[in-house]
Amino acid sequence: MSSDWWHDDVALLARMAEAWHAGQEVPPEFVAAGTAVWVPPDLDGELAELVYDSLREPVAVRTDTAALRALTFASASQTIELEVGDGVLRGQLVPPTRGEIEVEQAGGATASTTSDGLGYFTVASVPAGPFRLRCRAGSGSDVLTSWITI
């Protein structure tokens, strides 16, 4: 790339055309997927942070269920235990609560399930790509896990 291209009309027009084409080259869906990542700040939602991930534990500490991935999220009022195995996502809300659990991905909610009286729930297929769970129980506020990828 030569310097001072902007002095010359022909060079400037050529760079301008290149820049314009480069902008046009980006597929609209590529941009749309990025804008879809936005979720409004959930002022009512309570964020459950990842506090345990079996993947981050040293191998020696791992239990014999090495094939499983185990994750724990915790907010002030709710703990969410997750286990992944055989392509299925199993979880439990602690303290046990009946409620609705939604899988949210970049484009919005992609699956939903309910927890039983003991707080157990199952998501039939592990979401591909980054996702988070929104747990809606009774009259309390939603609990949102941070984003994770399995």
């Binding site: 009309d9 902008g23 980006v26 997927a33 804008t35 990542v37």
Partner: protein, 197 residues
């Protein structure tokens, strides 16, 4: 990399919960992310995968970004890492080694990222400046962007201009383009930094 003043206010607004600002950030930097994916020879599904991971990561780190002006660099590095992750995951490692200069080793791609940052910054300034041009100039110049621009006769009849005035108008519009704040700032920074692409 010269500063990108627009990005500071966009990041602050997005952080405060403004979806428009977020959209503008994505639109503004999608060509950078896309360009790096292309340089790593990623095709469509893989590039989409990288894009989503990069935007999600940015969204999660929005509050933690101390220096919004450093955003392009952060995006470029994150995109590079995600490209390498995807290539590794899909067992196409050899493609990385072919794309990336030998001296930068297996985890390289830094030069490539620098080049793309530079190019994307320049092209962003040009596109921004173009948006700041008056509509008449945008109409005329955009007709000259094609590899084989239409003859002046055709442009003249499309835009209702005399053929003889197209040349001088083109010159005037390019002069205006140079003076548009986005490009003027870029030129000043580039000229100040000495030789710059």
């Amino acid at each position: 990399m010269h500063d990108d003043p627009a990005v500071v206010s966009l990041v602050l607004a997005a952080r405060d919960g403004d979806p428009e600002a977020w959209q503008q950030i994505v639109e503004r930097y999608a060509p950078l992310v896309w360009g790096i994916c292309r340089r790593f020879t990623l095709g469509r599904p893989d590039a989409d995968d990288v894009g989503q991971a990069v935007w999600l990561s940015l969204f999660q780190h929005l509050a933690a970004i101390r220096e919004p002006a450093a955003l392009p660099g952060w995006l470029a590095r994150t995109t590079r890492n995600e490209c390498l992750r995807v290539l590794r995951a899909t067992g196409q490692r050899e493609r990385v080694e072919r794309t990336v200069p030998v001296e930068s080793g297996v985890d390289g791609g830094f030069d490539l990222v620098e080049e793309e940052l530079e190019r994307a910054g320049q092209q962003r300034a040009l596109r921004d400046a173009f948006q700041q041009l008056r509509p008449e100039c945008q109409q005329l110049l955009s007709r000259l962007f094609r590899d084989a621009p239409p003859p002046y006769l055709e442009i003249g009849s499309e835009l209702g201009m005399k053929i003889g005035s197209i040349g001088p108008t083109r010159q005037r519009c390019l002069a205006e383009l140079r003076r548009c704040p986005a490009l003027a700032a870029f030129i000043e920074a580039a000229a100040g930094a000495g030789k710059r692409g």
